[in-house]
């Protein structure tokens, strides 16, 4: 694995900043007063023990949850409320902790679905595959084929995803997110439930996406080895609070982080 340069990223400006965000479900405080930023071009990890609020944080970023307090700025624009479809249009794509694909459709069709936001021909043209719709489909198919090639899934192009092993389903899901050509890619536990070899493959794809397409990536991950190898900067949550933020080296030495993972008497 290549050594990740810190220089270009440290100089980059924030593509997304989270300021004093709090989120509660009734009496349960999922997030309280969390602030951090994600810089253009970096791989940012969000880690923490179970129930720390990682997935909630991701859901806030892509507009699935509305925080009660705080604000989020994406590409310099402050926003109070954003719906998931607006986030998608704005350039945020994501994958899910439990794979969320169209199980009865082929890998190719699933990834094509990721292009739907970029299709402009009207419904009837698309229905009849006529005129502009046909040209458009050819152009999109080309982009999708590039992603298929990139992720090395040509051999399962026409296989229903429901029949694929889990590791490959995860890869198809990543492909669908990439098909949106996002500026910010949110990955919710991309390596959960994978064996060592699958994890190594996935790590390589994540690095390649970041390297080749210049996509900014925010990921949640449990495997510490993976996080430390992949990410430029790490933010650590515990019980909905931010307890540390910095490079993998800094975070690894942070006493609060060590306590959160190993447990201390409360």
């Amino acid at each position: 694995m290549r050594a990740r340069g810190q220089v270009d990223v440290a100089a980059g400006e924030a593509i997304l900043s989270v300021e004093h965000v709090s989120l509660a479900f009734g009496g349960v405080k999922a997030l309280s007063d969390v602030s951090f930023d994600i810089r253009t071009g970096e791989i940012r990890a969000i880690i923490g023990p179970n129930g720390a609020g990682k997935t909630s944080m991701l859901n806030v970023i892509n507009g699935f949850y509305q925080p009660q307090q705080g604000r989020i700025a994406f590409k310099g624009k402050l926003r109070a409320k954003m719906r998931p479809n607006e986030a998608a249009r704005g350039g945020i794509a994501r994958t899910f902790q439990n794979v969320a694909l169209f199980r009865g459709m082929t890998a190719l069709d699933n990834i094509m679905a990721g292009r739907s936001l970029a299709m402009h021909a009207n419904f009837f043209c698309q229905l009849l595959r006529y005129g502009p719709a046909l040209n458009e489909e050819v152009a999109h198919r080309r982009r999708v084929e590039e992603i298929i090639d990139f992720l090395e899934i040509a051999h399962i192009r026409k296989v229903q995803v429901g029949r694929l092993p889990y590791g490959l389903q995860k890869r198809v899901e990543l492909g669908r997110a990439l098909a949106m050509e996002p500026d910010l890619l949110l990955l919710d536990e991309p390596m959960a439930g994978m064996n060592l070899e699958e994890k190594e493959d996935m790590s390589r794809f994540i690095l390649d996406v970041n390297n080749q397409f210049g996509t900014t990536i925010a990921l949640i991950e449990h495997d510490m080895g993976v996080v430390m190898d992949l990410s430029d900067r790490v933010v650590v949550l515990d019980y909905g609070r931010k307890i540390a933020d910095g490079t993998p080296e800094q975070v690894k030495r942070d006493q609060a982080v060590i306590d959160a993972y190993l447990g201390v008497a409360h």
């Binding site: 290549r2 198919r141 080309r142 084929e145 590039e146 298929i148 090639d149 990139f150 090395e152 040509a154 051999h155 192009r157 070899e197 190594e200 390589r204 390649d208 390297n211 080749q212």
Partner: protein, 660 residues
Amino acid sequence: MQPAARADTSAEVVDTFPKLLIRNAETLRGRPAMRHKDLGIWQTWTWDAVLEEVRAFSVGIAELGLARGDKVAIVGTNRPRLYWAMCAVQALGGVPVPIYADSVADEMAYVLEHAEVTIAVAEDQEQVDKIISISDRLSRLTYIIYDEPRGLRDYDHGRLQWITEVQQRGGAKLAADPLALAAWQASVGRGQGSDLAVILYTSGTTGRPKGVMLTFDNLVISARNGNLYDHLDQDEEVIAYLPLAWIGDHVFSYAQSYTAGFCVNCPETPETVVEDRREIGTTYAFAPPRIYENLLTLTMVRMADAGAFKRRMFDYFIGVARRWGEQILDREKVPLSARVLYGLGEVLVYGPLKNRYGLGRIRVAYTAGEAIGPEIFRFYRALGINLKQLYGQTEASVYITAQPDGEIYADTVGKPNIDVEVRIADSGEVQFKSPGVFVGYFKDPEKTSETKTEDGWVRTGDAGLIDERTGHLRIIDRAKDVGRLNDGTLFAPKYIENKLKFYPNIKEVVAFGDKRDFVTVMLNIDLVAVGSWAERNNVVYGNYQELAGHPLVYDMLAAHVREVNRSLADDRALAGAQIRRFLILPKELDADDGELTRTMKVRRGLIGDRYAPFVCALYDGSTQAMIATEVTFEDGRKGIINARVAIRDVGAPVVMEKAA
């Protein structure tokens, strides 16, 4: 033995591949020379387009300082640019050295070092990484040229060059300097038929690989004779998916394509070959038996999962095909009713099946490299596929013998090819003489003189005999492997192994018996076939080792072994060599552990040493054995697996009680 057909006497002087390419670009202008499936679409290059690509590439390589006689390694899978690299290097008087892409770094280092490689052309990051990791051992290596740029952006580009950029520099030079083209053509003109064309390292079942040196004459004449033998012309379609370093692929996807002018198709990825072949519809195919075995196993597994109606239809018509198919293929007389039934089967079963295999348009299909199970062989022929056997070697530029159309027998390898002479030495060893006979082993005159006799014959190392009935050559086994049991019975391990490997449940077999009292075997289960059986029979297992050791799996394989014993009992000479005891190995035999060669042949001696406790237990009567064996993982790390394995007796040998 006399050649079966007449030699190619056309007085052609086009004697090297670069010259053939220039000729084809004129005479076959606009016809496809190469296809590659990229981004899901077949991209085509015509002969004139290939000439342009190769020329630009060649001039670009010359700029990097390649001198005549320099060796260039080609590492990767079957991609157009790697084939072009061979021709581009040959145009400059250099010698391409194709290398098995799945070799681990250490194996690769030996070959690169031994071949004195100055430039390496690699497919992708994986291969580049391997070469970089061993580059301190390669003092002569100047540049690494790569095809697929992904992941290589951050690498130091001092010694690393992208093929496209090399080609662009060459193209720019050709455009700017009118003398450059003339200089390149002069360089091609300087090449002669007697020049060294390629060095192919054989994976050898023993010792370090040997570099077989072949000249343009060896390859061009052999390829031309091969074309003549099977009437191959520019309309053939072949798919290139076997290792570049294998002589079969070199002759079939390169030499024969350049001489006959047919199109070579490169698959999208190694995993998509079956689908890609179906789309192309190949007319000429060349594969080791395991490819046919895999296809058959896959078919049987899928049919076992099919509905009852389909399965019965399949079984019925396969029965019809086994009864009549071969006679119909050989144009013999058969009753009208059989012809009608077979015709119906063609529509309902054989046609769709052949289409699935991508063999619907096949004219000639060869199996070579190892003996094929007679049942597998007959299965394909019964479907109407003209599958034939060929016997060849790297040292012969492939062709020694082949079966002529209409003279097909499951247990022979045919008659000598055009211009080839074959004799059986007193020791029983097969020897040959042909225009394809190699120059020698690179930097190994000692081995060369061991292999070539003083009067110009080549020792094949195979034991064989001329079949009295048909006049065909029959190969029994490697000469050095044929042994005898303590009671003097002939023991031909490969013969027994092949009989067992016919069963879809069995992937590999290693037989022991030389200088022993009786024959024993170690088996490898086929995970696809046995896994599917386990699923259907509710047999639960966690991993390979557990499935391999399952008592029900033992029962199933014991039945196979007994069947083989029954068929051995039929053969007078081999009836005494029946299998008494067997075990199932807890891990798959793997080329990475050195247990198989890169062409997937078992290394019997090495396996015998590594699994010595097993061999011991097979003969001392114990019912189980323990072992700790080393395995190499795909990333090169090593680990140990511990296993306890059961040993099964299959009972007393079968005695045939029929009158002689």
